[in-house]
Symmetry: C2
Subunit: 409 residues, 2 copies
């Protein structure tokens, strides 16, 4: 169905393609026998053996001769991601920043999350991230190789040059985050910056609530509302790399001013601030304030319950349009929307029943995030791995941990 | 980036893949020299020769030894779509039905459009289509082979079984259009049914305003408003095959009832009926009424100009959200939106400037359809070709024209 200029496969490129297919299979499904890779990849037993050999040689996979289980025939060889091949993941959000080190297959070797210093600029934040990363990397064996750095950020990221064009809730504008990270961590390192909600969607589709689903909408509520979509098994990117700005779908013709310069955007009616306004606490911020509202709702506070119900109707109002447009298998709610989910689910269901076409409504499940606060960090790791997953030969361009540690120090 | 289980390429499947790549290149770019196919497909000269031979053998392409142009070296061979390999395309809409016969490469051999009889049911409509198709097929050489039938319909089409789940403006519900067409044209014939706006998007991206663009939103206004999207070079399908229902994005919390059962949908504010209501002609319908409004606008009728301006603001209100979500290269306006475009463009631009993020706004062009009333018919032909384009060996399953003509008679 593609309109883009597909190119043919010369026989010499088939081996490279098959390396990607095998690596992806182990990355997504984890340790498995070499025999299991035959049906999983539709390659012959011989081709699997050759390709696994390539990937072991590149330092990406490990093999182990399995014990015989007593059944006849040769014992099969186990294939698993190498523990020495890692990526560094960063998650930059309004309230916190987080760092993690992940192997292929999604195993987290180390990680931490701290509060973000609101008053300092991007350079300071990147410094903080680098110092935390150094601390984590120092704990790893010296022969560990970093194959990339992924960063999730609450802002619009231009695909071409990884410029954070706009992060209104961070107060960032035209920040060259990709360049800042390369300056700090080393010019040889592969850096992949992505919008936080886009990477949340990627994480939920590979490691979370939506594993195996091809059509997914991930909506994350916080100060703003972000969206990431997986369509036909692939992330929706957009022409500038800025798709998924669901928070700025106009929903209220007589609404209030939005940070973005427009009026009546979805996030002005369904974001955290709208809830704070509705419960009569316009000056609070952050997840602690959401927790307080949830506690009051559980205690039966009428004003809070009414506010949550109105909030739920506005959430449904925007979400119904998104569902009618994408016809997804699943909507995953993250951030404060996940926290509120038990308290808004009934109203949400009723409003979606009314506003979404039956054939679409009957298929879509609306669920809270399975990865919680870590979905974007995990998505950043997946995004960092993407270059090697697509072309495993790039493993030759990995950077040894001691070199990065020295650079940061 | 795919999460779906990619499978490896065994060497015996590489030739089949390359057949698809070469056929698609000729289909999209038309007649060209065999030498030009080498860079276009990234295959070797030898491989191109072999694959073109396969496709000539399948009856899909023709070769012709070109005259030497006087330059040194062997004259190159021209490759072009065969005129004997065709698909039949149908376009079923509220006011009209159309039939066309198209070769690979998009050449229309024959076609006609007539008014639709509103009072008769789906079986009658399918009968009419079949009789028109017979008339067109009878004009073709007897050795012409039909490789598929494509049908565009103003309704929600379930992907699995080509059931028209809902066509509110046609008055259709749960119509097995795929089965009806096979019953009438023959059980062996490949039938592909699609939503009209989805197929309009496909047509504009292959033959119309958006050739070569990977991220396209097509919006068609008529009684309802339909949408079709191309994302990353591929059509957005959705889990049920029902994506793109942009007409049912909620936009007005205090809006009016919609045919779909919801309230305040975009098409209740930005569809043709809303315009007829705003100019004070609530009882008119159809494209003639739109023409009358355009004439009055050109004549300077103040009430009409004010109504069109309000309409433009509502069109922009919904469109801004769609653009913020998809970040497309281009929005193509079809149907009555194309007709109104010169009269709404200024207001539309101003409102989009205000409501769309700068980085997204600066890239997206909003243009009227280049294919006009035929975009959906052309999209139906493209959709019908898709099976053979993906797997050219299916050409062996084509049905000879005389067999279809006898069946319909």
């Amino acid at each position: 169905m593609s309109n883009t200029n597909a190119t043919g496969a010369r026989s010499e490129s088939v081996r490279l393609m098959n390396q990607s297919v095998v690596l992806r299979a182990v990355h997504l499904a984890g340790e498995q026998s070499r025999s299991a890779l035959v049906p999983a990849t539709d390659l012959t037993r011989g081709a699997v053996g050759t390709i696994v050999g390539d990937l072991v040689g590149l330092g990406l996979l490990e093999e182990e001769r399995a014990m015989s289980d007593g059944s006849p025939g040769r014992p099969s060889t186990l294939v698993r991601p190498s523990g020495r091949a890692v990526v560094i993941a960063f998650d930059l959000r309004v309230e916190t920043i987080a760092v993690g080190v992940f192997t292929l297959g999604g195993r987290r070797l180390a990680g931490t999350r701290i509060s973000r210093d609101h008053d300092r600029g991007p350079e300071h934040t990147v410094d903080e991230l680098a110092v935390i990363a150094r601390g984590l990397l120092e704990l790893l064996p010296a022969d560990t190789v970093v194959h990339g750095v992924g960063a999730a950020i609450a802002g619009l990221v231009r695909h071409d040059d990884q410029l954070v064009v706009s992060g209104p809730n961070l107060g960032w504008r035209d920040v060259p985050l990709g360049d800042l990270l390369r300056d700090r961590l080393g010019p040889d390192i592969h850096v992949a910056v992505g919008n936080d909600a886009d990477l949340g969607a990627l994480a939920e589709s590979r490691r979370g609530a939506a594993v195996g689903l091809d059509d997914l909408v991930y909506i994350s509520g916080e100060v703003g509302i972000g969206g990431g979509m997986i369509v036909g098994g692939r992330p929706l990117i957009g022409s500038a790399g800025c798709s998924g700005e669901v928070g700025h779908i106009p929903v209220n013709p007589i609404g209030i001013d939005c940070n973005c310069g427009s009026i009546g955007c979805w996030e002005t009616e369904a974001g955290d601030h709208a809830l704070f306004r509705r419960v009569g606490r316009p000056d609070v911020v952050g997840s602690a304030a959401i927790e307080a509202i949830v506690r009051d709702a559980i205690a039966g506070d009428r004003k809070v319950l009414a506010a949550i119900d109105e909030q739920a109707r506005w959430i449904a109002f925007g979400l119904a349009g998104i569902i009618n447009v994408f016809d997804p298998d699943m909507v995953v709610l993250g951030g404060s929307l996940a926290r509120l989910h038990p308290h808004i689910a009934a109203t949400l269901d009723r409003e979606l029943d009314r506003r979404v076409f039956d054939v679409i409504r009957s298929r879509v499940r609306v669920v809270p995030s399975a990865l919680g606060i870590d979905s974007m960090l995990i998505g950043a790791a997946e995004w960092a791995w993407d270059r090697v997953l697509t072309e495993p030969a790039h493993a030759a361009n990995g950077v040894a941990v001691p070199k990065i540690v020295r650079r940061i120090a």
